[in-house]
């Protein structure tokens, strides 16, 4: 069995005295698309921020490719591609400058041609020489996705990355991610509310409730929902939520 790409064990985190996550255990392997579901305020974004090293856990560990995010952040982050929320992109840089800085931060000799091709597919190229401040929500979201994909990361972390994207671009991005996953180059961790995306693309999913993992769904369970009753995931989520 291959070693998991992302290993989270007994993770607890919070902001000040407010505890947001407690006792999270999770493993994701290369070639998996793992979706994280949960109501607003359940801790999805905080979990992703712990994985990307933006929030320091109060206890527990996060390992990416065996490197601890808090003890060996550079080794861990070499394998990580994190898509920032659109409002956190620097408004006073152009899209091109953002790509350049990210590529330099990853010590790349040039911006990945694959990412530039994706920019072309997104119809983003004409916007790349404009300030991010002038971008619409969807355009920012596209740039954020491109930045996350730079440097061929092994673990791609998206926080509601398809919000605001037009359907065509959303489909392009999903297919691109699927292609990367099927070739075994990476794993995707996606926090989302879009159940159709979970059913169509995810290999596993989990429901986060009140800072803890309340339920996980395996590939087989998702497959059966996909072929049988597409509404079953929604019902299952509601049942778990009401039971807790």
């Amino acid at each position: 069995m291959t070693e998991p790409l992302l290993q989270i064990s007994k993770l607890s985190a919070g902001y000040g005295i407010r505890r947001v996550l407690h006792g999270i255990d999770l493993e994701i392997s290369r070639g998996e698309w793992f979706s994280l579901l949960g109501p607003n305020g359940s801790g999805k974004s905080t979990l992703l921020r712990c994985v990307s090293g933006q929030v320091t856990p109060t206890s527990g560990t996060v390992l990416i490719g065996g490197a601890c995010v808090s003890r060996a952040p550079r080794d861990a982050k070499r394998l990580l591609g994190y898509a920032h929320p659109p409002e956190r992109l620097p408004g006073l840089l152009t899209g091109e400058q953002c790509l350049e800085i990210y590529a330099a931060a990853h010590d790349l000799p040039a911006i990945d041609p694959e990412v530039l091709d994706l920019a072309e597919d997104f119809r983003l190229r004409p916007f790349l020489n404009q300030f991010v401040d002038s971008y619409s929500l969807g355009t920012r979201q596209k740039l954020s996705a491109l930045l996350a994909l730079l440097g061929n990361p092994s673990l791609i972390v998206f926080d509601e990355a398809f919000n605001g994207l037009d359907p065509a671009s959303s489909l392009v991005l999903k297919h691109h991610l699927q292609e990367r996953i099927h070739s075994g180059r990476c794993a995707v961790l996606l926090a989302t509310h879009a159940l159709d995306t979970v059913l169509s693309y995810s290999s596993r999913a989990a429901l986060l409730l009140d800072g803890g993992l309340a339920r996980t769904w395996s590939q087989v369970e998702l497959d059966s929902m996909r072929t049988g009753n597409p509404g079953a995931l929604e019902v299952a989520m509601a049942q778990v939520a009401s039971a807790s």
């Binding site: 620097p90 040039a110 911006i111 404009q130």
Partner: protein
């Protein structure tokens, strides 16, 4: 309703009260979210200390300089107030026309009143601080030659004139600061670099302090009669604008340190590379323009020893504050407290012993940055 003189029942007043209440709650909550009571008390003590130091150490020489150039002092204050007012008017007009209160059923007049109040508040606060400092100087008998009241009057007239000038001057252009073409390299796929990160603080400064806005004010100011020769007038305005630029550049460096760190934290970029990329252009600009400003202050009649000491103190503050901002890139309360304490300590050190603050600040900054890079 006794004692309210009918204000509580006046519909216009009730509507305006909603906006005033929103303003008050936002301000109070912003302070409460950032600072605890003891931090506020410490900050108050720090500010009082700095003001006391200003009065005792620099007060007499500044008042005598201002007393010799009363109209120029007024004009400098007018320029500053005009900049604050012009910026504030645009900001608050946008806020009340497009923000979360824009859809409330309020009269335009109510919003205009609030825009005016919030716009005039910063220059008025500056005038209040100056007045308090001057009063303290008189009461503590540090200045006795009777120049204080003409200076205070000149500041008051300048501030009021500046507010009017800033209010009626054309508004800054919205949103995009510079034409994109001036920044485009046209080399997508070339060698990536952090050059854009280095240019970010300078660009941020340009956005906050547009040369065009200052040029408009300069034109207005140069049209006014001054009590000094033309050369001295230009020198005074030049010193004011460069001083403003240096302060805004420091603020921009803090801003970029925070925003850049938040944005680049999930990448494997090392702290040392990040810090160098953010700081290298601001360091160069601060050194260059501080040196030139020192020369200009000397040319204006300031004691060279004091002018040099002032420049050293400013560079020391820049070194300490920018390194603190880089280390605490989240803009936390701890960062703000550290900045305040370091400014107070550096000013105290420079007061006690000249030419010591800068080496102290450099050692402190080096130690801090090195520790952050290692961790």
């Amino acid at each position: 309703m006794r004692g309210t003189f009918g204000l509580q029942r006046n519909p216009a007043w009730l509507r305006r009260r909603v906006l005033l209440r929103a303003w008050r709650l936002e301000s109070v909550n912003r302070i409460r979210a950032r600072y605890s009571s003891w931090q506020l008390a410490t900050a108050l003590l720090g500010v009082t200390g700095v003001l006391a130091w200003l009065v005792t150490y620099w007060g007499p020489s500044f008042v005598s300089l201002a007393g010799r150039h009363l109209i120029s002092t007024g004009i400098v204050l007018a320029l500053q107030s005009a900049l604050l007012t012009n910026h504030g008017r645009k900001k608050w007009t946008e806020y009340y026309s497009q923000g979360w209160l824009a859809t409330l059923p309020l009269d335009r007049q109510d919003c205009k009143t609030l825009v005016a109040l919030r716009t005039c508040w910063p220059p008025t606060a500056v005038l209040i601080v100056i007045t308090v400092v001057l009063l303290a100087a008189v009461l503590s008998a540090r200045i006795t030659d009777g120049t204080v009241f003409p200076v205070a009057a000149s500041c008051a007239v300048g501030t009021c004139g500046g507010i009017l000038m800033g209010w009626w001057l054309p508004q800054r252009d919205p949103a995009i600061p510079l034409p994109a073409s001036s920044l485009v390299h046209g080399r997508l796929g070339g060698m990536p670099a952090l050059a854009a990160l280095s240019g970010w603080p300078i660009l941020q400064t340009k956005v906050w302090l547009r040369p065009r806005s200052i040029a408009r004010l300069m034109l207005v100011a140069l049209g006014l009669p001054m009590d000094v020769s033309g050369n001295a007038a230009v020198a005074i305005l030049w010193t004011f604008i460069v001083g403003l630029y240096l302060v805004v550049l420091l603020r921009a460096t803090i801003e970029v340190a925070g925003q850049g760190a938040n944005w680049l934290r999930p990448t494997p970029l090392s702290f040392a590379r990040f810090a160098w990329a953010v700081l290298r252009y601001p360091i160069l600009k601060q050194l260059l323009w501080s040196g030139l400003t020192t020369g200009m202050l000397v040319a204006l009649g300031m004691n060279p020893f004091e002018a040099l000491s002032l420049a050293e103190l400013w560079l020391a503050i820049f070194a300490a504050v920018s390194s603190i901002a880089l280390v605490h890139a989240h803009g936390s309360t701890q960062m703000r407290l550290k900045i305040l304490v370091s400014i107070c300590c550096l000013t105290a050190i420079e007061t006690v012993k000249h030419h010591i603050a800068l080496p102290c600040a450099l050692v402190f900054s080096g130690w801090q940055l090195n520790r952050a890079a290692r961790s």
